[in-house]
């Protein structure tokens, strides 16, 4: 076998040095510190590489509302379900959306009862579908500003008449303010997602830092990116410095991707709305502007959510603590349903549905966040 070249950002020796730096910083601080990241991809890397077992004991790294599928609110899912059940309507959406519970039914339930639902990998596929199909194709669009730009691009490109968008797109910067202001929060700093910042630019966080007096560090997604980002963030906390630091300069600039921003704001306007389990987030939802009204599914169809309001949520859903998990108040293992009643095949809460959800990620990578160093048996000797 040809030896695979070691990936540049996956050097365990460098990781251990960064972990040691974190230890030293935490000793200097001398108390517990909690920080939050807001991205499923950050959590995936942390869980997959077992990074939590490297973090100092007094440093807590929580995942915040970083999963767009998880924060899609129940009424938004209901809108998708009701549209799917209308005659001659085909829904195109990302696979992760299928099992997200609505008030009564998920899209997967609607599909089982005969609704036409197509899984797509990108918005262009939804447009292709509309060109091939006679009926109405509604793209149920979810995701943060990263994927919203892709939705904007196809709308600017003048899609066919039978195509429309049900936007459940969300915008990250405002929700960071909500989480920072939560009365129970212990969060002292944020690790911002590198890919979203590649669009918005890191400058977008400067106002946040001013208003909330909390440092923000933009970080990438390889294990070393995350560790280096945390070293920077904890350093800022130790020094009481409130500013934005970009540790992902190979992708992120201060201004960001200006053409992408132009497209994003030409098509979308921010409005207030609920994020599942979190709160009403001012300017947190992205809706189509009037110029694009003819492709707005909300204006094109009558969607009467009241038909679903007679139903009480199921018993188990009341025990689900997804909201507290996304707000960084609890971890999945604090939930009595986690890995028992609530598993990926039969999710109770949205965090167990999406590959970006905290509970799903923890489940995938063994269910226990930090194994510690333990009494490891003597490691394998090199036999070659």
């Amino acid at each position: 076998m040809k030896e695979a070249p070691s990936l540049q950002f996956r050097d365990p020796e460098l990781a251990k040095k960064l972990a040691h730096q974190l230890e030293v910083l935490m000793e200097e601080i001398g108390r517990d510190v909690s920080v939050m990241h807001v991205c499923g991809s950050h959590e995936q890397a942390i869980a997959k590489f077992g990074l939590r077992s490297l973090f100092p004991k007094r440093l807590t790294v929580m995942m915040g509302p970083g999963c767009p599928v998880c924060v899609t609110d129940v009424p938004e899912v209901d809108e998708g379900v009701l549209l799917a059940e209308q005659p001659n309507v085909h829904i195109a959406t990302y696979g992760d959306m299928l099992k997200v519970p609505g008030t009564v039914r998920s899209l997967a339930d609607a599909q089982a009862q005969g609704a036409s639902i197509h899984i797509i990998y990108g918005p262009a596929q939804a447009v292709e579908l509309a060109k091939k199909i006679d009926g109405e194709v509604v793209f149920f669009a979810t995701g943060f500003e990263t994927t919203a730009v892709a939705t904007a691009a196809i709308l600017i490109d003048n899609p066919p008449e039978n195509f429309s968008v049900l936007s459940a797109h969300k915008y990250i910067p405002p929700v960071m303010e909500i989480v920072a202001e939560m009365p129970d929060t212990k969060i002292e700093g944020f690790l911002a997602a590198g890919h979203a910042a590649a669009i918005t630019g890191w400058g977008v966080f400067e106002d946040f830092v001013q208003r909330h007096s909390q440092p923000v560090v933009v970080a990438g997604f390889e294990p070393l990116d995350i560790l280096a980002g945390l070293v920077e963030l904890v350093t800022l906390i130790r020094d009481g410095e409130r500013r934005v630091v970009n540790t992902f300069p190979r992708c992120v600039t201060k201004e960001g991707n200006l053409p992408a921003q132009e497209q994003l704001w030409r098509v979308f306007r921010p409005i207030g709305g609920r994020w599942r389990g979190i709160a009403h987030v001012p300017n947190g939802n992205l809706r189509l502007r009037d110029e694009f009204a003819k492709w707005d599914a909300r204006r094109r169809f009558t969607i009467d959510l009241r038909t679903l309001w007679d139903f009480a949520p199921p018993q188990l859903a009341n025990q689900c603590i997804c909201g507290d998990i996304m707000a960084g108040i609890h971890n999945p293992v604090d939930c009595q349903l986690f890995n028992k009643e609530c598993v990926p095949e039969t999710p109770v809460g949205a965090c167990m549905v999406s590959n970006e959800g905290t509970c799903k990620i923890w489940h995938l990578y063994g269910g226990i966040p930090d194994l510690g160093v333990g009494q490891a048996p003597s490691p394998v000797k090199d036999a070659s």
């Binding site: 076998m1 040809k2 695979a4 070249p5 996956r10 365990p12 990781a15 869980a47 997959k48 590489f49 077992g50 990074l51 939590r52 077992s53 490297l54 990302y94 696979g95 992760d96 899984i119 990998y121 995701g143 994927t147 294990p223 598993v343 990926p344 095949e345 590959n355 489940h363 995938l364 990578y365 063994g366 269910g367 226990i368 194994l371 510690g372 160093v373 333990g374 009494q375 490891a376 048996p377 003597s378 490691p379 394998v380 000797k381 036999a383």
Partner: protein, 339 residues
């Protein structure tokens, strides 16, 4: 149990084991049988035969697509059964049976190609098909072709999958994840261009050489097919009531498989291998076994990848090189990441 059979109950993981235990094994396990039988849920059954053991195993083969890079359904159906016998220590194959179920309309040309492949694989394994059965079903009643093979072999000492002892080393006989990722990368027509190729091959020669060199050194053995190395290790750990510390960076994975896994969002540890074995080996024999394996053409990339521990019995502790976490047991077929 209630409801209907789910696809994931055939995925080789926990769900499948539960289905087999709940529906099939209970009754058969209660019937008198003098040997290693269904209750063991091992790769095959063993019947005492003079001072040796007769080993029997059976396997039905379906694969989509039926021809894939590195192999085809014919090569799998011979290799799979030969390997199940070899995993029990029966490397001398007395005979194979072959039953084929065909769908109306199946191209004869394809059937001949599959047959040629089965014959070639038999020659490689030193095995012969000695009886068989053929059925043709109507269009849509079966999907193309299903091949069942049963194998009979002999061994002096059956090797079980529950024999791991504290301190044993875990050895894999080569690169992990090739078959599953090769098939998946073409199955989901993601247009991946790569040199991924299935590892499907009979392993009885490799296993025979190892057993000859260290007759008592191999404490447990299994072929990591459906569910991959993760599933095989979980089964061995649970049945042996031990934990396994797996060092991820020592697990040999080709560059092509690693890249495909990253793109598809699928862990090579979770997908099928069709030409690899995972062994528990006594620590003092580990270096010698590794040497024997590496000198054999089917074992060139063999590696020591882990150690048996008393920490967390039934679990696999994965040392990623960065930190440690538990390796999840696959619960159904992995699907490529959606977004």
């Amino acid at each position: 149990m209630s409801g209907r059979v789910l696809l994931k109950q055939g995925g080789g993981g926990r769900a499948m084991r539960r289905l087999i235990e709940d529906i099939f094994i209970r009754d058969y396990a209660a019937m008198p049988f003098d040997g290693i039988g269904p209750a063991a849920m091992d790769d095959g059954a063993c019947i005492p035969f003079g001072n040796e053991w007769l080993v029997i195993t059976t396997d039905s083969h379906v694969v989509h697509p039926i021809f894939f890079p590195g192999g085809d359904i014919g090569r799998i159906s011979i290799s799979g059964t030969v390997n199940d016998l070899a995993m029990m220590g029966a490397t001398r194959i007395l005979g194979l049976t072959c039953a084929v179920i065909l769908e109306e309309g199946f191209p004869i040309e394809d059937l001949e190609r599959i047959q040629r492949s089965m014959v070639a694989t038999c020659r490689e394994a030193g095995a012969v098909v000695i009886t068989g059965d053929t059925k043709v079903m109507g269009r849509g009643e079966v999907d193309g072709i299903v091949i069942n093979t049963t194998g009979i072999g002999l061994t002096k000492r059956p090797i079980r999958d529950n024999g791991l002892q504290l301190g044993d080393r875990i050895i894999v006989t080569g690169t992990i994840g090739d078959h599953g990722l090769a098939v998946m990368s073409i199955r989901h027509s993601l247009g991946l261009e790569s040199d991924l190729s299935s590892d499907v091959a009979p392993l009885n020669g490799l296993v025979a050489a190892t057993l000859e060199a260290a007759p008592e050194g191999i404490t447990a053995m299994k072929d990591p097919t459906r569910g991959g190395l993760a599933s095989a290790l979980h089964e061995m750990a649970a049945k042996s009531n031990v934990g396994i510390l797996l060092e991820e960076r020592r697990v040999p994975v080709t560059q092509a498989a690693r890249a495909a896994g990253e793109i598809l969002g699928i862990d090579p540890l979770h997908v099928a291998n069709e030409g690899k074995a995972v062994m528990g080996v006594r620590a003092e024999d580990a270096d010698r076994v590794l040497e024997i394996l590496r000198s054999h053409p089917r074992g060139r990339d063999a590696a020591i990848v882990g150690t048996v521990t008393n920490e967390r019995p039934g679990s696999i502790i994965l040392d990623t090189g960065f930190g440690r976490r538990l390796l999840a047991e696959p619960d159904g077929e992995p699907l490529p990441r959606i977004c």
